[in-house]
């Protein structure tokens, strides 16, 4: 029995010309994992979301109406876009925090705690200092947020570097500590607003607020200058990761720690630095919510920002610009979800379900490949080292 392949195909397979076959394959796989898979994941999640709406007693027309409301609420008007960007702003920063850690092989689940501490630092600077012009007060408050988050990121970093404690465990524990620490602090006289018995902080000074961008057109438009800080951070992280020696070290440690060690890179130093920066990013996200949206802090004021950051980083494939795109998508879902709840009477909880489904599909690319019968296997994104490492 002879080969089923004609001689030319065989020749091409055995002796690939010019750019190697595997090279072309690799490029194709990159495109798939970076764009096609996330796109199909979103599509699949939306379809399943539709089924869920129908299963809960709506007609197909009503379900489509709900999605129309979702679309209108996210991009249907300038006000909708403003809401989308307002929701996306902290998600960009929280997503960058997780993405940066992923790149260095660390799983930062502590974004929530880091954002809480960053927010508390920012609110304190925001209300306790008075009489400063905004161009000094606002940066001071942002820096306070950065420092607060960095401290909360530094702790798991140094614990991992010095004792080998797994960052997943320590960051989760630090989330609890931060959550309860905020509860406690809001009841102290330093933070608690005069005349209140419930845990609410004082309001920040106007000079510490992020300027709003579109209130000139419509006073209800909440999008604020924190968006530029978030985009600037995305640019900075991209530059750091791919254009600097520090980023080279981060990526080397993330991709192969023993090769990094061989190359003379201090793996422990990288762990500390990465967690410090990741914490700073999450802290900036928390501070941004305080300075741009809330104006004060309450228990759990970050509203699961740190966890949504994990989802954003996964969908964005830990690429800073991917993170920006994923954050805007999730911001849109959040903003549109409000509209959907009001005008189509479909609960906003559905948005959480859709988000969770997206992440499920992104985390299991083989599933997407199977559903859509993609030919070449898609490499699963390695997000972090195992527990034992």
């Amino acid at each position: 029995m002879s080969s089923q392949l004609d001689p030319q195909t065989r020749e091409d397979l055995v002796n690939p010309k010019d750019r190697s076959f595997t090279q072309r394959l690799a490029t194709a796989a990159d495109w798939r994992s970076a764009i096609l898979i996330p796109f199909l994941a979103v599509l699949s999640a939306l379809i399943i979301g539709l089924v869920i709406i129908i299963l809960t007693g709506s007609s197909f027309a009503e379900a489509m109406n709900a999605y129309l409301a979702l679309l209108q609420g996210s991009v249907g008007s300038l006000r909708a876009i403003s809401e989308t960007l307002t929701a996306a702003t902290p998600l960009i920063l929280a997503g960058l925090s997780v993405a940066l850690a992923f790149r260095a092989g660390l799983f930062n689940i502590g974004g929530e705690g880091q954002a809480l501490i960053g927010g508390m630092f920012a609110v304190w600077v925001g209300f306790s200092i008075t009489g400063l012009p905004f161009f000094i007060h606002l940066p001071l408050a942002i820096i306070a947020g950065i420092v607060g988050g960095a401290i909360w990121g530094f702790i798991p970093g140094i614990l991992k570097a010095k004792t080998g404690a797994h960052e997943v465990i320590t960051t989760i524990m630090l989330n609890y500590i931060a959550l309860r620490l905020v509860d406690f602090l809001l009841k102290t006289s330093i933070f608690q607003r005069e005349g209140r018995n419930d845990p609410v902080s004082k309001n920040i000074e106007v000079s510490a607020e992020y300027p709003t961008l579109l209130t000139g057109i419509d006073s209800a438009m909440r999008v604020h200058a924190g968006l530029f800080v978030a985009l600037g951070a995305a640019f900075l992280i991209y530059w750091l990761l791919f254009r600097t020696t520090i980023g080279f070290e981060f990526r080397a440690v993330g991709a192969n720690p023993s090769a990094a060690r061989y190359a003379g890179i201090s793996v422990t130093k990288v762990y500390i630095l990465v967690m410090l920066i990741a914490g700073a990013l999450a802290g900036t996200a928390g501070a941004g919510q305080v300075l741009g949206v809330l104006g004060r802090t309450t228990p759990g004021f970050t509203a699961d920002l740190g966890f949504d950051g994990i989802a954003v980083a996964l969908l964005g494939r830990s690429n800073p610009w991917g993170v920006v795109a994923a954050a805007i998508l999730f911001g849109g879902l959040r903003a549109g979800g409000q509209q959907m709840q009001v005008s189509a009477n479909v609960g906003i909880d559905l948005i959480s379900v859709i988000q969770a489904l997206i992440i499920l599909f992104v985390a299991a690319p083989a599933l997407i490949s199977a559903i859509y019968r993609l030919k070449t296997p898609v490499a699963s994104a390695q997000i972090s080292k195992g527990w034992g490492s």
Binding site: R10, S20, Q23, R243, T244, T245, A255, N256, G264
Partner: protein, 501 residues
């Protein structure tokens, strides 16, 4: 049992792994299957053992066409694989390992240890495979562990035994014992397929030899008449010179001086025990020894990757004891690490990035914090050309390179640095003959430039091909220092096994 493969073809995306492969293995004979990495040997064996299904072609046993849907069916049909990497549970006894999966039980599911021990004893006596059924695997030497693997397949009724690189992990003495076992199996009518890239062993043990290249059978050879050079040329497809051309060394001043170096592990056991070693400019010192006798620790001590407990290490006149790895590396030690994929490179980085893996922080590859990608790319383009890394696309991921080309990339990175000492650990492990030839030439060229070179290898052929002086390591100690011209593989092999020490 006679095994015949007829026109086996198997394609993977981008690779035609087996292309119309036909071969015959007869009862009571040894068929050696030789070929370079990527020649299709592993694919063929995976087809034979039921892991892959061929796209076309037939497996025929005693004239009956077989269809294996899973490995279990291949085992049932009488095909037994002895893998290069043993699949044994270290904390289980020999008998427990042997019966794993086919355990004799009493009362439904209670392991019948007595029966298991007896079964193992029967087979070990029948085939002359001396093993204590009650011994724990982790306490056994590698050669004995291999016997356990053989007993495992025999217990499952294997008539055709496939050995995948069986001698790779054995000492020279164990290899001789292994050949004895093969002869015994042969005399009892077993069909044996011996996959190897060691031509000398194929010639010594086989009754017939089949050569694979690029997924195709490129020839057969008669071990009685064929030479190593002929086989190598068939494997590679061009003339191959297996001997390394080199003139006698002209050793200069000492470059590396290790005095009484001792390294201990966390439990206080000696990993390196009072090592005294000198490598001079312009000479190649080969470190022979079986894997795991302190060679890894020796290299990591010199490079500063592991701290030493006692003693001193000098590079030229500078005491580098306790220096950080980066400092040692920058001050003069190039290092081709023993584990290419785990240590030597980052698969998901480009070739260009890998070529600056340990120098990215220095001029001209970076200025301040900023990487200078233009300089990095320019240097990379020169290096892939100079060191014949193929394909020469510096933007390719390193993981897309073949083993030989990946190793050439690492050699390019390390050899292109202007430093007085080069450490090469297992410089040609698992790579093709053409790349071995090339890398050996580069090592000798480097020596002739007056560089001090330390080569660690578990392959005696490689040690003898390259070394001017040979030191033998056993159990963390240097047990012999010999002039390459005044010793022979048998003597070195004895030292490697711990005799005379």
């Amino acid at each position: 049992m006679e095994l015949e493969l007829r026109g086996i073809t198997k394609a993977f995306p981008g690779v035609l792994a087996n292309d119309d492969v036909s071969l015959t293995a007869r009862s009571g004979q040894v068929l050696a299957l030789i070929g370079e990495n990527g020649a299709g040997k592993s694919t063929l064996m995976n087809i034979l053992s039921g892991i892959y299904r061929p796209d076309s072609g037939e497996i025929v046993l005693n004239g009956v066409v077989q269809k294996f849907n899973d490995p279990g069916e291949a085992i049932k049909a009488g095909i037994g694989m002895v893998h290069q990497h043993f699949m044994l549970v270290p904390v289980f006894t020999v008998a427990e390992n042997v019966v794993l999966g086919v355990e004799p039980t009493v009362f439904g599911n209670v392991l019948n240890t007595k029966k298991a021990n007896k079964e193992v004893e029967e087979i070990s006596q029948k085939y002359g495979l001396a093993v204590d059924p009650k011994a724990k695997i982790e306490d056994l030497a590698v050669g004995i562990q291999q016997r356990v693997e053989i007993i495992k397949v025999l217990l499952r009724g294997a008539k055709i035994l496939v050995f995948d690189e069986p001698t790779a992990v054995l000492t020279p003495q164990e290899v001789i014992e292994f050949f004895g076992i093969v002869a015994e199996l042969k005399s009892r009518g077993a069909t044996i397929i011996f996959i190897t890239h060691k031509l000398k062993e194929a010639l010594a043990i086989a009754d017939s030899i089949t050569v694979l290249r690029g997924g195709r059978v490129v020839g057969h050879a008669d071990p009685k008449t064929a030479t190593q050079e002929e086989l190598a040329s068939m494997m590679v497809g061009r003339e191959i010179d297996l001997t390394v051309d080199k003139t006698p060394a002209k050793p200069g001043a000492p470059v590396l001086t290790m005095s009484s170096v001792t390294m201990t592990d966390d439990f206080g056991r000696d990993l390196l025990d009072n090592i005294n070693l000198e490598v001079r400019a312009g000479e190649i010192v080969g470190v022979a020894g079986i894997q795991g006798n302190g060679q890894t620790e020796l290299i990591e001590a010199i490079t500063g990757l592991l701290p030493i407990a006692k003693g001193s290490i000098k590079l030229k006149d500078v005491d580098i004891t306790g220096f950080k790895p980066r400092q040692i590396h920058r001050d003069g030690v190039a290092h081709v690490p023993e584990d290419r994929n785990e240590m030597g490179m980052i698969g998901s980085f480009t070739v260009a990035e890998n070529l600056v893996l340990d120098s990215y922080y220095s001029q001209p590859y970076s200025r301040g914090l900023r990487l200078q990608s233009a300089s990095i790319d320019e240097s990379a383009r020169t290096l892939v050309k100079d060191y014949d890394v193929r394909p020469a696309h510096i933007e390719n991921m390193a993981s897309t390179l073949s083993g030989g080309n990946a190793q050439k990339m690492i050699v390019a990175r390390e050899f292109s640095r202007d430093v007085p000492l080069v450490l090469c650990a297992q410089p040609t492990r698992g790579i093709d003959v053409g790349s071995i030839e090339y890398i050996h030439e580069q090592i000798v060229r480097k020596r002739d430039e007056g560089i001090a070179i330390l080569v660690v290898s578990t392959e005696l052929d490689e040690i003898f091909a390259l070394s001017d002086r040979i030191v033998v390591m056993f159990d963390g100690k240097i047990v012999a220092t010999l002039n390459a011209s005044e010793t022979n593989p048998t003597e070195v092999g004895l030292y490697m096994a711990g005799k005379n020490s």
